[in-house]
Structures are given as C-alpha cells and as structure tokens.
C-alpha cells in the first residue's frame, strides 16, 4: 500500500507531503482493495455460481463454463477493456473522454488499413497511433483551448466516422472492398499453453490436461477447468498483449512517479502545479496514451475479431468501455473484470440464446449472495431491496424460456446505471475530473 513512487531528489519536501497525502487517501493510493488470496476466493466463488447455474438451468450444452465460450468471451472483451483503460488514462489526468468511441472507430479503420499494407502487427501499431492522434486532438481542444470536455468528445465522435468513411471511399474500392468496408484481412496467429491446454512445443503435441478434466463433466471441477482452459488456449498473441497491458497500466499509474504525477493532475491540478508538475504536459500524455489504447482496441476489433473493417462495427463499444471504467471504479483490474463480464454476456447472446436465459438465474444467485451479506451486516433496507429484485428476476426466469435477444446487449449499460444508483458511495472518480484547468487560475 505504501509502496508508492519515490519522489525524485529535485523535488521539495512539499512534494513528499503531497504524495504521502495521495498515498493515504482512501482509494487512490491502493492498487486493489483485495489481497491476492481474496481475489482467488472471489474468482472461485464466481465459478461456483456459474456451475450452480449450469446445473439448475439444466443446459444440455455446458455453454456457461465451456472453454469454447470463454475463449471467445476473452477475445471479445479486449476492445471493451482497452477502451475502458483508455478512459482511465484520460480521466486520471482529469479529462473526461466521451470521444473514446471516435478513437475506437479510428482504430478500426487504421488497423485494417495498416494490416492491408504491412500485416497485422504493424496494423495494430498504426491503429494505436491513429487513436492517440484522436486523443491529441481531444487534448488540444480541452487542455490548450479549454473547451468543455463533453463538447470536444462529442465533436470527435461526430468527426471520426466521417474521416474513416472518407478514407474508405478513397482506398478500399480499388482493393476489393467498398465505401463501407475493407477487403478481408488476416489477424495474428493463436497459441495454447503447453501441457495445461495442449499447446504444441517444437512440433510436439503436449497433453491437454484441462481439456481432459473439462470433458469429465464433473460439477465445479470440470467447470473450473473449462474456464481456465478458456484463458489458456486458442488465444491470439494480440490478446496476450492486451492482457499484459492491464497490469502494465496498474504499474505505470500506481508504481511510477510518472503515474503519480499523472494522477495528481486529475486530483488537484493546482496543487500539482505548485509542486512543479507540468500539468498541461501530463494531461496531454494521459489523453494520448488513452487514445492509443482505444485505438488498439478498435484495431483488435477489426483485425483480429472481424477480419475486416466495416462501418459502424464498434456498435458503441467506446461507450461500453466508458461504462466499464466506471464499473471498475477508474482502476485497471476492476475495469478488466467488468469488460470480461460484459464480453461474456455478449458471447452468450451470440452463441446460445438459452444460455443467455440462464444468465437470469445467475443474477438471482448473485443477488442471493448480496442478500446474505446485507443480512449479515444487518442492513435491513438494502436487504429488502435486494430480496425484492431477486424475487422479480427469479419469477422472470421461471415464467419464460428465453430472454429478448437485445437484453445481453444492454447488460453493461443497465449494470452501470444500477451501480451508480445503488453504490455511488463506493465509486470514486478523480476529484478534478471534467473540470477545466488553467494554470494560475484559482485552486
């Protein structure tokens, strides 16, 4: 907890006092509120709920916990998580980023175009650069010209599809695409981890232990193996990069002096300024890094998931990313978990509508856990609310055989609204988020 960044020697004691203040503030200084052991227990608990749902819903296919589902869910959550991380970097410097959607759109186009020209790896680099250019545009408007953040973000969202459409109409028709889509492209290859999930090492087919256990169909054990196999097999190298970005972001923001200075701009820019931090510069950094991450997410969507650029393929994933960021309380790990959850819901919708229906039961079980917790803490009002909602969802589950196909699609949005309604006091956004900042004015 106190492993905060070391102040560089050129800074005064005032800086030390300031950083100590940030390190001790309730949420900001902590990388996570749970210890590693608790994380594992929580994860096992979720898997247990999933296999319980699987049993009670009597699904013939084990889609809730099969490795197939989780391989896809992991891949589809990457753009959402990247957009969410992009939002974190931007908002941690105090710039509200509504323009994530636009940066994602730029990423899809430039990712596809770059892949056409130089292959998928360079395509992703180009996508990230394009996204960061979108970020720099946002920074130029909000930081240098002091335009309202929401307005600037909306302008970027309006402009990005125009730019990509214009570029498509110039470049794609001659290459076998059209005004609205690129020719098909091939992403990077995938791998499985040897021994655990049957990866191939130097031509040797290693055993697939998790796959074997999954096929036993034992309660909980096979489910756990299936989910673990989902995270260890059939994964594209780009997905691995995305997974590694999550801890890297945590490290950069919470364990380096760069990150501390960056966050100080989002908490109290005037104090940061008085201690010698170049607030404008860090705001530019934050928004540009955020844009690059969103661009990466967009590129991943086009290059790896869709195999082409298609107009409107982001489907509001930038906004879902924004929702995920709030869900994760402006922190990378929580955001990644939220993104995974939303990617999972989306995957079920596409793979198996009956499994999507079973999600209702999962919600009931989840609410039941919360209910016991509320009763244990003797929160009568919360308990009654949770009890009523759990009953309603249960009635809904029992009285229907399917859910509307649209429901999983809007799960993230409902979840975030619910969170904002019922758990506002647990959320803490950067204190100066969304405020205009001019050096030397007020504070």
């Amino acid at each position: 907890m106190s492993g905060g960044p070391r102040p560089s020697p050129d800074l005064t004691t005032g800086w030390k006092r300031f950083t100590r203040g940030i390190g001790q503030s309730s949420v900001l200084g902590r990388v996570s509120t749970l210890s590693a052991r608790n994380w594992i227990l929580a994860a096992l608990g979720i898997v247990f709920l999933l296999s319980l749902t699987q049993q009670f819903a009597k699904l013939e296919t084990s889609d809730l916990t099969s490795s197939g589902t989780w391989i896809i869910a992991l891949a589809w959550s990457v753009p959402i998580i990247m957009a969410g991380l992009g939002g974190i970097f931007s908002e941690r410097t105090g710039i509200v980023n509504i323009g994530l959607e636009g940066m994602l759109v730029l990423g899809t186009w430039f990712g596809a175009f770059g892949t056409l020209l130089y292959g998928p790896w360079w395509g992703m680099v180009i996508a990230a650069i394009a996204g960061s250019l979108g970020g720099l545009l946002l920074a130029l408007a909000t930081v240098t010209f002091n335009v309202d953040h929401i307005i600037a973000g909306v302008a970027i969202n309006l402009m990005a599809p125009g730019i990509t459409r214009f570029l498509s109409s110039i470049h794609f028709p001659d290459r076998g695409g059209s005004i609205t889509q690129s020719p098909t492209i091939v992403g990077v290859s995938s791998f499985s981890i040897p021994v655990l999930s049957g990866g191939i090492v130097f031509g040797w087919q290693s055993p697939d232990i998790l796959g074997r256990i999954e096929s036993w169909n034992w309660f909980f054990v096979s489910d756990l193996a299936g989910i673990m196999r989902g995270f260890t097999s059939g994964m594209s190298w780009l997905t691995l990069v995305a997974i590694l970005i999550v801890p890297a972001a945590t490290w950069l923001l919470w364990k380096t002096s760069f990150g501390l200075r960056l966050r100080s701009c989002g908490e109290n820019p005037h104090a940061a300024d008085s201690l010698g931090v170049n607030v404008y510069k860090y705001k530019y950094f934050g928004v540009a890094i955020g844009g690059a991450l969103a661009g990466f997410g967009g590129g991943f969507l086009a290059v790896q998931l869709s195999g082409l650029y298609r107009e409107g393929q982001t489907l509001g994933k930038g906004f879902i990313g924004l929702a995920t960021m709030i869900f994760g309380n402006w922190r990378p790990v929580g955001t990644a978990l939220g993104g995974l959850l939303f990617g999972f819901a989306e995957t079920l919708r596409l793979r198996d509508p009956r499994a999507a229906h079973a999600l209702l039961l999962l919600i009931v079980f989840g609410l039941a856990v919360l209910l016991f917790r509320a009763l244990y803490l003797r929160k009568a009002k919360a308990a009654s609310w949770i009890g009523v909602s759990a009953t309603l969802v249960l009635v809904w589950y029992l009285s229907t055989n399917s859910v509307p196909n649209q429901l999983p699609k809007i799960t993230p949005h409902i979840a975030v609204l619910g969170l904002l309604i019922f758990a506002t006091q647990r959320l803490r956004m950067p204190a100066a988020d969304g405020q205009r900042y001019r050096k030397g004015e007020g504070g």
């Binding site: 970027i156 214009f166 110039i170 309604i421």
Partner: protein, 377 residues
C-alpha cells in the same frame, strides 16, 4: 454595439473559414480541385429542390438542437436526445397506427405521445440526478444505448408487421395522421417544385423555436433556468429549487426531443422502419453548439448542417470527391467553433475586466487602485 456584433459573429465565421481551409486541404490530398467542388456544391445547393430538401433535413436538426439547448442553458448535458427521439418515434408511430381519429386531432395525439415519451425517458435521467446524484452525461449515454439497442430494437421485432415487402416496419399511420406538404404555399412565390415535398412539420419547429425563445428570455422559469446555469449558488440563495430546475429542464428538453423523429414520420415515412433516420440526436448537439443556444443561431446552424448534407451529393455525381468530405467538414466546423467561442469569450472577459478596472481607477482615489487591479487580473 458593433463591437458586440463582432463578438457574436467572429467565432462562427472563423470556424467556417477554418473548416473551408481544412476541407480544401483534404480535397487536395484526395486529388480533387476544391474550387470546382465548392462551385458545384453552390450551383447544386441553390436549386429550389435542394433548398426544400435542406429544410426537410434542417427541421429535425433544429428540434434536436433546441432540445439540447434547453439543458445547456442551465449547464445540463442532455446528450440523450438520440435515445429519447428514437424511442418516442417508434411509440408514437405505433399509437398513431392503432388509433382512428379525425385529421388534426390524430396528428395532435401523435405529437403529444411523442413528447410524453421523450419527456419520460429524459426525466429518468433527471430523476437519477436529483435523487441519486448520477451525472446526466453518464446516465443519458447509458439510456441512449438502452433505448436504441435495447427497447427500440425489441419493440421493432415485436411490432413488425409481416407483409409482402419483407421490410421490417410497423403498421403505417392512416392518412388522417399525416402532415400535409407545404409545396402549395411555397409555389405561390416560386416555380413548381419537382419530386420533393416540403414537410409540414417545419411549422411546428418554428413554433417550438418561438416558444423556446420566449420561455427562456421572458418568463420566470426561463430566468430561473438561466440563473441556475450561470451561478447555481446565487440561484439557490435567491429561492430557486435546483432539483426542481433540473427536472424541469430535463423534462422540457425531453419533450422537445420527442418531436425530432416526427417530421419524417408524419411527412414521408408514415411508419417506423429499419431505415428510420438515426444519429440526429448527436447532430443536434453540434447544431446547438454552433448556434450558441440561441433560437435563431440554432436555426442557422441547422440550416448550414442540413445544406452541407444535401448539397454534398453533387460532389460524387460530378466526380469531384466522395460526399463524406462533408462529415469531416461538419466535425471541423464544430471543433473550430467551440475553440473560437472559447477564445473570443476569454478575450471578451479580459476586455471587460480591463474596462472595469479602468472605470474603478477613474472612480476611486489612487491609493485603492493598486489593490483593485491586483484582484482583477
């Protein structure tokens, strides 16, 4: 006075200038001749038919802009116009198709339904802000997605009428619920209009604009709204209930937002279908920004955006450039406009401050001047 006019006009003119320069550069990069492109657009855009189409496009944009502006006036970002109007349009289309009423009454019921739905959806965001302090930007973004990707998509699948056309569409509204075209009126002054019809809903938009202007500038509610926007603390101290004002602004904005889909619904499509125009909500934000929340300014903004949309078609036909250049132009106009407004506003404030400093310096004895100046800078 002339100086005031300069401040009003400088920013939008600068924005359009910057947009022209940047679009010219883009056109040059794309290998087109900007001058031929602009002159073709001008030639095509000044035809009567193009202007009629422009007005048809500008009408919903204007309503959308007004809906956004109502919130902006008190620093509320109702960016949920998109969800509010699409939801309102589909429900109003359903109600209009199911009921049977005499002509004028039928249209009135459709309009009121749309306004009620828009006000309800927007009011949800207001309610969340007032009771749970949920920021309206987040809640309206989420409600947009819930409305468009969730509710409307679901309703469309449920209410779809299976017919020969294989088109996903609701039942059509009977003719008593249509709004007549205004071509006859226009033709009194001009030649005959070919192919296109001027949607009658433009009259409703004019009424909305007038009511908006009067409400904001000449009534108690409007005063309270503006006061809460300019200085919430002072407004609260003078007896305005901020929560009530938030609800009022959100509900009023939502009611106007409900109208955005109606020009098309009552004027041409007469049924909600898959091709129903979307994205007007976000364009409305742009138009409101361009028009600085002023009833006439928004009208100009809506006309400019509508004209760019309609006149750009010729670029493709004549082989100048893809028409998508217009989307870039619109985006640049918006960014340039907000930046220009911010710069001009800062300049105006600085001049005001120095003028005030000069005035106090003239009015007060010299020993106090230095203190005053220190505070003003």
């Amino acid at each position: 006075m002339s100086k005031k006019l300069f401040y009003v006009l400088a920013a939008p003119l600068a924005a359009v200038g910057v947009a022209l320069i940047i679009s010219s550069l883009v056109l040059l990069i794309a290998g087109a001749n900007p001058f031929s492109a602009y002159s073709n657009m001008w030639e095509f855009g000044t035809r009567l038919e193009t202007i009629i189409e422009t007005l048809n496009r500008a009408t919903p944009l204007y309503l959308s802009g007004i809906a956004v502006a109502i919130g902006f006036r008190m620093n509320l970002f109702n960016i949920g116009i998109e969800g509010q109007y699409v939801l309102a349009a589909i429900i109003a289309a359903k109600v209009g198709a199911e009921i049977n009423l005499p002509p004028v009454l039928h249209v009135l019921v459709i309009i009121l339904t749309a306004m009620a739905v828009g006000a309800f959806w927007s009011g949800l965001a207001g309610f969340l802000k007032v009771t749970r302090n949920v920021h309206e930007v987040i809640s309206t973004i989420m409600l947009n997605a819930i409305a468009v990707a969730g509710v409307v998509s679901y309703l469309l699948s449920v209410w779809d009428v299976p017919d020969a056309s294989l088109d996903t569409a609701l039942k059509a509204i009977p003719e008593s619920g249509w709004m007549p075209s205004l071509n006859g009126w226009v033709e009194v002054f001009t030649r005959d209009i070919k192919r296109v019809e001027l949607w009658g809903f433009i009259l409703v938009a004019v009424v909305v604009g007038v009511v908006y202007h009067v409400l904001i500038n000449r009534t108690r509610i409007g005063y309270d709204l503006r006061a809460s926007g300019e200085n919430p603390t002072a407004a609260t101290a003078s007896g305005t209930d901020p929560k009530k004002m938030i609800m009022t602004a959100m509900v009023l904005g939502g009611a106007v937002a409900g109208l955005v889909g109606l020009p098309e619904l009552l004027g041409s499509s007469h049924a909600y279908n898959l091709r129903f125009t979307q994205q007007l909500g976000f364009a409305g934000i742009a138009v409101a920004l361009l028009g600085r929340n002023h009833a006439v300014g928004i009208a100009i903004g809506a006309f400019v955006f509508g004209w760019l949309d309609r006149a750009s078609g010729v670029l493709e036909v004549r082989g100048d450039a893809p028409r998508e250049i217009v989307a870039i132009m619109q985006g640049v106009i918006i960014l340039a406009a907000v930046v220009a407004y911010a710069v001009v506003e800062r300049k105006r404030r600085a001049e005001e401050a120095s003028a005030a400093a000069a005035a106090t310096a003239a009015a007060k004895p010299p020993d106090q001047v230095s203190v005053e100046e220190g505070g003003a800078s």
